[in-house]
Symmetry: C2
Subunit: 478 residues, 2 copies
């Protein structure tokens, strides 16, 4: 929590101050923190604000709760690594050319011999596999013909109703008709790009950016303009504004909530400003909210779509990171581009698989989903913390790592001499898959000493050993 919070919420400010005291050594590992009531009086904030602040610090692994005793500064073997700096990509729009490295990485997901720290996949044991499969089995009997027939766009009515119901939770005034279901969020983003841009157009993205987005941009003949991005707060608005002033940008495509690979979460006030800035210039925003439900803090960050009064935000999501990646069910709420996106959906894949949509809709009807999410978030937060500590222990001196407040990904900056592509190759020989930095940029040579690590697996001796091996390989390359 090194960088300053831009207009942070009250609880974030409280957390920030406490963290400052811990970083400065005022509060030492093992020391007891003030009681909630004490701090509430001292900071002149409500008890619930203090509780939220403590929850955030706990989710970040900075403090810990001891039952019937209170909150304590967490003991560590050694200090956590620092965070990486704000990215500084070249101020040029590039045609994208990401290499076939990707192939090796995604194939590793289905290869049980490889430790899957590359692709952003969750271990099936974190997912409600049995309940989902049971729903599906039941539905395949109940639904009969509907299970086998096309479910034409905009897609399954009950699933869209559930999506609308969930949108209420973050204040989204979206009815069932606001949604179109898709084959995962990837298709949603791809269709959104097709709907708002034409060949040769420039798309502003974060830097580093999700390689899937870069691939989509490449395959559609678009150009990627990478905007400097903060490891904790995401896209830098001043940089975006400067870019918009200088050239025509057809759309902005970002993952504001737990971006991939940075894990950054854009502050609410930034989201408001971003939406306003783009409305002024009539530039659509493609918001990939794939990880939105995986927050470690007390509340779901509100998506940019929450501040969109003119239908200029195309919000994309899916159930691949929370329920069943293999079901391939995602969605888009494309605002004013609805008709165009729906037609493109029909042209590209005709329909979304019927039965998986029905099974997920059924799952969302009861409160099993929220219960599942609570458990999943806790486990991901713990796994990420363990991964961060293992990196601190095994990676070379000078390694920096992000501190996401949600999602399942860590972005690791190694010393400049460590070549990520070489590390990727050596790691694969050792049976470990990692995502090398260069696939997260359209610029050649960019992020050549970074890797992304997936924390989607329960911590185990096998994972620990894999991180130790990675660290050893990185040291040998340093």
């Amino acid at each position: 929590m090194k960088a300053a919070t831009p207009k942070a919420k009250l609880y974030e400010q409280v957390a920030e101050r406490l963290n400052g005291a811990i970083t400065a050594g005022t509060l030492r590992p093992g020391e007891r923190l003030p009681s909630v009531r004490e701090l509430s009086t001292r900071e002149r904030v409500s008890v619930s604000t203090v509780l939220q602040a403590y929850l955030q610090l706990e989710s970040l692994g900075i403090i810990e709760t001891r039952p019937q005793s209170g909150h304590y500064v967490r003991r560590r073997e050694r200090l956590l690594p620092a965070e990486p700096q704000v990215s500084r990509p070249a101020n040029t729009a590039y045609t994208v050319s990401v290499s076939a490295l990707l192939g090796r990485m995604y194939r590793a997901v289905n290869d049980a011999r490889v430790v899957p720290l590359g692709a952003a996949s969750l271990a099936p044991e974190l997912l409600p596999v049995q309940r989902l499969n049971r729903e599906l089995a039941l539905l395949s009997r109940e639904e009969g013909e509907a299970a086998v027939n096309y479910d034409m766009p905009p897609g399954c009515p009950e699933l869209r109703r559930q999506l609308a119901r969930r949108a209420l939770e973050w204040g989204g005034a979206l009815g069932p008709d606001a949604f179109i279901t898709t084959c995962g969020a990837s298709e949603a983003v791809h269709l959104s790009l097709m709907a708002v841009a034409k060949t040769g157009d420039t798309i502003a993205i974060e830097s580093p950016a999700y390689y899937g987005a870069l691939q989509s941009i490449e395959s559609l003949g678009l150009r990627a303009l990478e905007i400097p991005s903060h490891p904790r707060y995401g896209l830098e608005l001043e940089a975006l504004q400067a870019a918009l002033d200088k050239r025509r940008v057809a759309a902005v495509l970002i993952v504001p909530t737990f971006s991939n690979p940075l894990g950054s979460c854009m502050p609410e006030e930034h989201r408001q400003r971003l939406v306003a800035m783009l409305a002024e210039r009539d530039v659509p925003l493609i918001e990939d909210d794939l990880y939105g439900d995986l927050y470690f803090g007390p509340a779901r960050p509100r998506p940019c779509k929450a501040f969109d009064t003119e239908g200029r935000v195309l919000m994309c999501g899916s159930f691949s990171k929370t329920l069943a990646p293999g079901y391939r069910v995602g969605w888009v709420a494309p605002g004013r581009y609805h008709e165009r996106v729906e037609l493109l959906k029909f042209a590209q894949t005709v329909a979304t698989p019927s039965l998986p949509q029905l099974a997920i809709a059924r799952f969302l009807q009861n409160d099993g989903y929220d219960r599942h999410l609570r458990g999943l978030r806790r486990r991901l937060a713990a796994q990420m913390e363990q991964m961060r500590e293992a990196i601190a222990e095994h990676f070379p001196e000078g390694t920096c790592v992000t501190r996401p407040t949600g999602g399942s990904l860590l972005w690791v900056e190694m010393p400049r001499t460590v070549d990520a592509l070489t590390l990727h190759a050596r790691a694969l020989e050792a049976g470990i898959s990692v995502a090398p930095g260069p696939i997260f940029s359209a610029q050649p040579q960019r992020y050549s000493h970074f890797i992304r690590l997936n924390c989607g697996n329960p911590w185990s001796p096998r994972i620990e050993a894999a991180v130790a091996t990675l660290g050893c390989l990185a040291r040998s390359l340093a």
Copy 2:
């Protein structure tokens, strides 16, 4: 069977001669045809060749078999309408702009109140719904985690093995590794286009062409060059050759087996010449074989891929027209473009749904699929024949209609004064969905007096009444 067969097979030549005799009135409705043995002696061909010829004429509704009695010229209320002429599109490459008419059409598929003669969907009662759903229910229990997890490209190994096994039947030397599974054939075609063409490139297609292909071409910023096409034999090779001599064409995209909407089937000898012609010029061929298994004649037409020795044919298929459209399982065998297509698949939709792939693979393991296909082909042939007769009865004088030997689609040319878009709108008001001609071309005003009718529904009073209503509307517009 008006047009001359180019280098037809022996049985086709026999069928052609018989048909000529029937058309000329030499053989009259109700008359008995020569016995198989007689004809075999007379024509100096084998008994099996005569049987194939009779089978073809039967599938076209020209003759009928009476058990224990022999073959007879079929009685008709009135003569079947003539076939439409070879198409003569303008010799110009157009940017594609197909209207939102499509939306109304595909939405009708899930609207039980509308008679679905528009989209090319099969009635679920023609599909093995229960058996498929049972497989799926069983698999969802057996497979557990694999059912929920990503099945990364190239996709389900067992399904690819089954695809390779089926390819053996038409002489395809394709191993399981030759295939990539996709979300239906639409995605397969879309990915193939992305793999071989870049923005601004020209794609040669049939005319009329499937609107989904036109949509893909439009959305990728490509240009469509429509090539004259024969109502029975498909793409005219001389016209294609002339076009290739004149301009750079990035790829040819056709449905050689029961094209959509023409229902034409390219003769084998044409396929060989086409593959050779494109090999000479190093132009890839995207072969959409979606309807390949739905032949009414004695044998499956061999795909162009069967003649491709250099991996220049990207063959696409799916199970949407034979098993379960709602499962969204298709495939592509992209030859030398394999790596690129696989990467694009990952970028666009990441993976194909896991469980539907497994369920179809399981279904293909036993011979239930072939048995199902035999029944389906018989029913489709009968439905198409009934539709053709109803058109003859109800549509205005001068209406022409195609005579496909497979698939489920009829292409209907009405008198020039009947505007298909008006007919489409009036029909929808009357609760009937049809596909209006203009959506099958990138050229404005083209096929404005044509409609495509879907024969994928069991014949019923409701369907019959709908065709009568259509005919009545068409007469009122004529």
